[in-house]
């Protein structure tokens, strides 16, 4: 939805005689937006930078006399091996999720193109239902699906002959919890990616496919020589968005595992929050979240480049 709405729209304002009123009016109209953005977005961001440069723990939160300590917080975070293991885990987590999302979404989109009308509507309906499921509802249901005693997943695994999954406690094991979180995020992300890719795929002229088929090209060849090159920008755009969403995925992880067991599912946003909330080191937490912002800005720059390329090709 967002993606579709984001296409820049040519302004159709007519050239009007320049009266003074017209010059002031637009700035009056955008003033509320500017004020809100300044107070609710830029100010918190600036405050985050400032906190990350101060010594800011519980005493400073209460008394409000934080001292500036330069880059000491960053130095401390960057020297902490735990931080680097969190970064590695975040990159892993992102890579696994995004690859799975892109591959599965592409397959679903290719499937949708080939389905008859009713089956296609059925699958699209299912995808929209998944899309509509609130994150919190989904996390709650997944906890129920993977319950050790009465969970339906363990029942199904035991029924298929995997006896070791009888009463298996998924959430006590780091890797199992990691796997469940990946499943949850992939499950939630496919509808957007698959429906967007599908919408892009049906814009590829049918004649191209037909002539390729006449030339005897197989399905993989058609995809790799026609579909993918034609929609390269769209694939790039969606991949960038998914990277951004997965890196900052916080709610799913926090609600299901709080980053645990141990540190098995602690990614950057969870780590920043843990440090700030549990250790009450707001300064270190702010520094970690600023480092995460840097990571995200890199992904964002790639995204804007794709958006620009997409506009030029469209």
């Amino acid at each position: 939805m967002t993606l579709l709405a984001e296409r820049p729209v040519q302004a159709t304002a007519p050239a009007e005689p320049r009266r003074r009123k017209r010059v002031v009016l637009p700035y009056l109209l955008i003033a509320p937006t500017l004020l809100a953005t300044a107070y609710l977005l830029l100010y918190p961001l600036a405050r985050n930078v400032i906190i990350s440069l101060q010594e800011f723990g519980l005493p400073q939160l209460v008394r409000g006399d934080a001292k500036f300590v330069g880059l000491a917080n960053y130095a401390r975070v960057l020297a902490d091996p735990e931080f680097w293991s969190v970064v590695r885990r975040t990159l892993w987590f992102t890579a696994i999720n995004v690859v799975l999302i892109m591959v599965l979404s592409t397959l679903v989109a290719l499937l949708l193109v080939r389905l008859g009308k009713w089956l296609r509507l059925l699958v699209m309906g299912g995808l929209v239902l998944t899309w509509a499921t609130p994150i919190i509802a989904a996390t709650t249901v997944f906890q129920w699906l993977f319950q050790s005693r009465l969970g339906v997943v363990n029942w199904a695994l035991v029924a298929m002959g995997f006896e070791e999954y009888r009463d298996y406690t998924w959430f006590a094991d780091g890797e199992a919890t990691f796997g469940i979180l990946v499943t949850l995020i992939v499950w939630q992300s496919i509808p957007f990616a698959a429906l967007s890719l599908y919408a892009a795929m049906i814009t590829v002229p049918q004649e191209l496919y037909e002539s390729a088929r006449i030339d005897g090209a197989g399905a993989w060849r058609v995809f790799s020589t026609i579909t993918f090159p034609m929609l390269r920008a769209m694939f790039g755009l969606i991949a960038c968005l998914e990277v951004i969403w997965v890196v900052k995925a916080f709610v799913q992880i926090w609600v299901i595992s709080q980053g645990g067991p141990g540190q098995a599912t602690t990614t950057l946003p969870v780590y920043a929050f843990q440090v700030a909330q549990s250790l009450q080191r707001y300064d270190l937490g702010a520094a970690v979240s600023m480092l995460m912002v840097v990571l995200l800005v890199l992904a964002l720059l790639a995204y804007f480049r794709q958006l620009y390329r997409q506009e030029r090709e469209a």
């Binding site: 939805m1 579709l4 709405a5 984001e6 296409r7 820049p8 729209v9 302004a11 159709t12 304002a13 050239a15 009007e16 017209r22 009016l25 637009p26 109209l29 955008i30 509320p32 937006t33 809100a36 918190p44 985050n48 906190i51 800011f56 939160l61 499937l111 080939r114 389905l115 699209m124 299912g126 239902l129 998944t130 499921t133 609130p134 509802a137 989904a138 996390t139 709650t140 249901v141 129920w144 699906l145 339906v152 029942w155 499950w187 496919i190 919408a199 892009a200 049906i202 709610v251 609600v255 920043a272 700030a276 707001y282 702010a286 979240s289 600023m290 995460m292 912002v293 964002l300 995204y303």
Partner: protein, 273 residues
């Protein structure tokens, strides 16, 4: 033929995988407790009970959580619509210096990593005495939905021909009247769609609600309450699933209302020559 059968199988598999978790949630919510606790789960409704919904609704604070969620999400959406309508009009209809920069700012604001702003907003809320009030949540959700609202409204506005407004002005309307009487009615469906999407964002938000409302548990919103179902319902999965179902219901209704619009939007954008 084989291709067709495997396509149909794949389609059904995708459908089942996407629908099953939600189906299981609703099914559990309606299952009698003895069925939930039986060693072999049943996959079709054998007998239906409303007992779990009763438990969920009777839980302490249930109605105040609903009220809080509605107030916060509704307030944020109304604020965002008012502010965004002004800005969208300026962007789509007027020419002024700095318009491109403003649009770029809105696009960037739309990508804000809010998860990184949890700490400063907590500190700011504490400093300004807004911690533990619904005001701060309303403001945060307003800002979360504002960029998206501006971008979408601008798109809807640009789709309405300027000629209509000009014709109205020729017929003696002022600029404001032309907007109110001609553009606004045409814009209404767009306003509805945009506000409902904003509503969903605010309705579902968890991270800030979890951090900013801490002292008085009665001031919490539904997502935070639902995330702590263990404290409320223990291992009563029927009641937990009933609560989840109730929480999802408004979102689902909104999607049903919007579905026609979304689908036609996708198709309309795709089919054009």
């Amino acid at each position: 033929m084989i291709g067709r059968i495997s396509r149909t199988t794949a389609a059904l598999l995708v459908f089942v995988v996407s629908v099953f978790p939600v189906y299981w949630m609703v099914l559990t919510a309606f299952k009698p407790t003895r069925d939930i606790q039986s060693a072999t789960p049943t996959f079709l409704p054998a007998s239906i009970t409303f007992e779990h919904f009763g438990t969920a609704v009777a839980a302490r604070g249930f109605f105040s959580f609903w009220r809080n969620s509605l107030l916060v999400a509704g307030g944020a959406v109304v604020l965002a619509l008012l502010v965004a309508l002004l800005a969208a009009f300026a962007v789509a209809r007027l020419q002024w210096k700095g318009r491109r920069a403003f649009v770029l700012m809105v696009f960037i604001a739309q990508m804000t990593p809010w998860e990184a702003l949890l700490i400063p907003i907590y500190v700011i809320a504490r400093d300004t005495g807004m911690l533990d009030t619904l005001w701060i949540l309303t403001l945060v959700y307003f800002m979360m939905t504002l960029p998206f609202t501006i971008v979408t409204l601008r798109g809807f506005l640009a789709a309405i021909p300027v000629d209509l407004e000009e014709a109205a002005q020729v017929d003696g309307c002022s600029r404001g009247q032309a907007f109110r009487r001609v553009v606004f009615p045409l814009l209404a469906p767009g306003l509805l769609a945009t506000s409902l999407f904003g509503f969903i964002t605010a309705w579902n938000e968890f991270a800030f609600a979890n951090v900013l409302i801490i002292k008085d548990q009665d001031d919490r919103t539904l997502p935070v309450w639902l995330s702590s179902f263990n404290n409320t319902f223990g291992t009563d999965w029927g009641a937990t699933m009933a609560a989840s179902t109730l929480f999802m219901l408004p979102v689902l209704l909104i999607f049903v209302v919007l579905q026609g619009r979304v689908t036609t939007g996708i198709v309309g954008g795709a089919v054009k020559g």
